[in-house]
Point group: C2
Chain length 207, copies 2
Amino acid sequence: MATRIVEPEAGPRSKRAAILAAAVDCFGETGFEATKWSTVAERVGIGQTALYHYFESKTHCLLTIMRLELQRSHDKFTEATEGVEDPTEALRAAVRAAYDVSEQEVLQMRILHNHMDLLSGTRKSKREEAERVEARKLVQLVERNWTNLLVRGMSMGAFPLRDAQLLGSGVLGLIVSVWRWYRPSGPTPLSEISELIEGACVRMVAT
Amino acid sequence: MATRIVEPEAGPRSKRAAILAAAVDCFGETGFEATKWSTVAERVGIGQTALYHYFESKTHCLLTIMRLELQRSHDKFTEATEGVEDPTEALRAAVRAAYDVSEQEVLQMRILHNHMDLLSGTRKSKREEAERVEARKLVQLVERNWTNLLVRGMSMGAFPLRDAQLLGSGVLGLIVSVWRWYRPSGPTPLSEISELIEGACVRMVAT
């Protein structure tokens, strides 16, 4: 493993990415609490001192994973709905995009939604707090994406008038609830789940 | 505070209830991680040794709160739907029952849903593990309640045929997602939320 540390081409960035990937595996499969911070270092093949250079704590790393996952969700939503004129089609595209994820991203979503309560309380550490504040902003951005999609559909007469913010957070809540129980090894393929939730969201919003 | 400890009428049960109530306040408002176990003892007015007599750890207490809340949810569902023949009416009654909660129960739901991942990994402590196993059984029971309600409606022709288990966990996921963000001090009263979600669930299932 030592060779990986001294690889001349491995700049700080590549090590950071490797740490994040290892942490996603550990937190997603073993759970955050049950994962020893030293296990992440071992997986990457670096010492604990090197690990602390990138993340000052296990929580700092968790908050970074959450912030990155929220950014990815936001970007994916934007990409999927951009230029889709028909509101129902945009809603369908947004739901499908939410489930168009890799196995690594499934773990990231699970980690994110298992630790959302971490975003509500101020952190004492500056670096942790910076990640938390960014993540909070992204949560609001993602919520606004869904609300705006519903508002647009309502103003165009495609969706009946309802409390768009409340209904939007319901749609989002329904979509992300899947990450609590979904396992790639489980009996139901994600494509089937995606299709059922897509239909449920359209009925919730457009009927 | 000392008088509370030596009250002759305060049997072991009353102290346990007081500890649970104090822990619900602390975990629900400050968060589980941020709450010091000693703060719970102080609130109840007992020493830490007495506290450990009832709960061997903060996690043991958390798991107990979760198990009790799941039992309450199950009982409430049963009570609300029993004898309601029409499946759509039963669905409406079940959703309304889910939001017919006290402020204390709001905190209990928030605590439960913020720590659901705790139920997936085996605990080393015997007493923690016993609570975890009971809570897991109750999670399955609650999920089955919703699936069975949907299966009955589908078999009676009141709901279109769909994957009842998948749709049932969607309905449940939508309902409980509210506990993530709902605050009694917030701008939207729970009655309004309940009404919107009730309508959304009926459209999801019966349309």
